[in-house]
């Protein structure tokens, strides 16, 4: 592997993906899309971890990614369950409709 990929490139990609995910979270009102956008952001973070790990040749980045993966799994399962409940309660996926659950 002579021409290696500079770590910045991967990190820049991660940043862009993260920003896109953020935009998704902010723009969409559909809770399903918000969850999807969250996945994008998690994935971008994971990408940044891998890139950093690869840069230093350490396994830690990959381990972090594994942990992110586990977190993502847990989050998605709970999140989707909540989506189902929300839909049951409000007959809509509009996240703002759930705002009356505020403290």
């Amino acid at each position: 592997m002579t021409d290696q990929i500079p770590a910045e490139y991967a990190l820049v990609l991660a940043a862009i993906l993260f920003a896109l995910g953020l935009a998704g979270v902010l723009v969409r009102r559909n809770i399903l899309f918000i969850l999807i956008s969250l996945e994008i952001m998690l994935n971008a973070a994971g990408l940044a971890l891998i890139a950093a790990g690869a840069r230093w040749g350490e396994p830690d980045g990959q381990i972090m990614f594994l942990l992110v993966l586990a977190t993502a799994g847990a989050e998605v399962s709970v999140g989707l369950a909540l989506v189902l409940q929300l839909y049951k309660q409000f007959r809509t996926l509009d996240i703002d409709a759930a705002s009356r659950m505020k403290g």
Partner: protein
């Protein structure tokens, strides 16, 4: 390889953009799968084949399938599509888009802030990963497993009362 990277990156960005702008959930999910696959390729290029595999199997596979299931259960009709169209007027998305754009620019500026390119070392062994995973990170692994367990129980508990009623 750099070329490969650029292609994959372009695919990922375009696909992600499609994800957050699409009106139909299923379509968006398909785009997301594409994006994830592109990122998996980049993992591979960065010398983490094991992670690339996991990305494909768990993210693009398991998690996306969950989403698809939920979408199917919800059985969203054209009504939702109309709603989405209504929600996605410029007034709604301009401000968040600018916000995210600023963040992205800041991050990029930080990353490319005039330093020498940081070259990537040649890959990390799976074995190495496993050693540290079950060595120093053992507790993290255990915590993650507990988290997953909690997620499982939580999802079950929250989703239990659900009796899907199609419209």
């Amino acid at each position: 390889m750099v070329t490969l990277f650029f292609i994959a990156a372009a695919v990922a960005i375009i696909a992600t953009f499609m994800v957050i702008t699409h009106l139909e959930a299923v379509h968006a999910l398909l785009h997301l799968v594409v994006s994830l696959l592109a990122v998996a390729l980049i993992f591979y290029l960065l010398g983490a084949p094991f992670i690339a595999a996991l990305e494909v199997i768990i993210y693009a596979g398991a998690i996306m399938v969950l989403f698809v299931f939920v979408v199917m259960v919800l059985n969203l009709g054209p009504l939702t599509r109309e709603q989405e169209t209504r929600w996605l007027r410029p007034g709604m998305w301009v401000a968040p888009a600018i916000l995210s754009g600023v963040l992205a620019l800041e991050l990029v500026y930080v990353l490319l802030g005039g330093q020498k390119p940081l070259s990537v070392s040649s890959g990390v062994d799976v074995k190495e990963v496993s050693h540290s995973l079950f060595g120093p990170y053992l507790i993290a692994v255990e915590v993650a497993s507990i988290l997953l367990m909690a997620g499982l129980v939580g999802a079950y508990h929250i989703g239990r009362g659900w009796k899907g009623k199609a419209r």
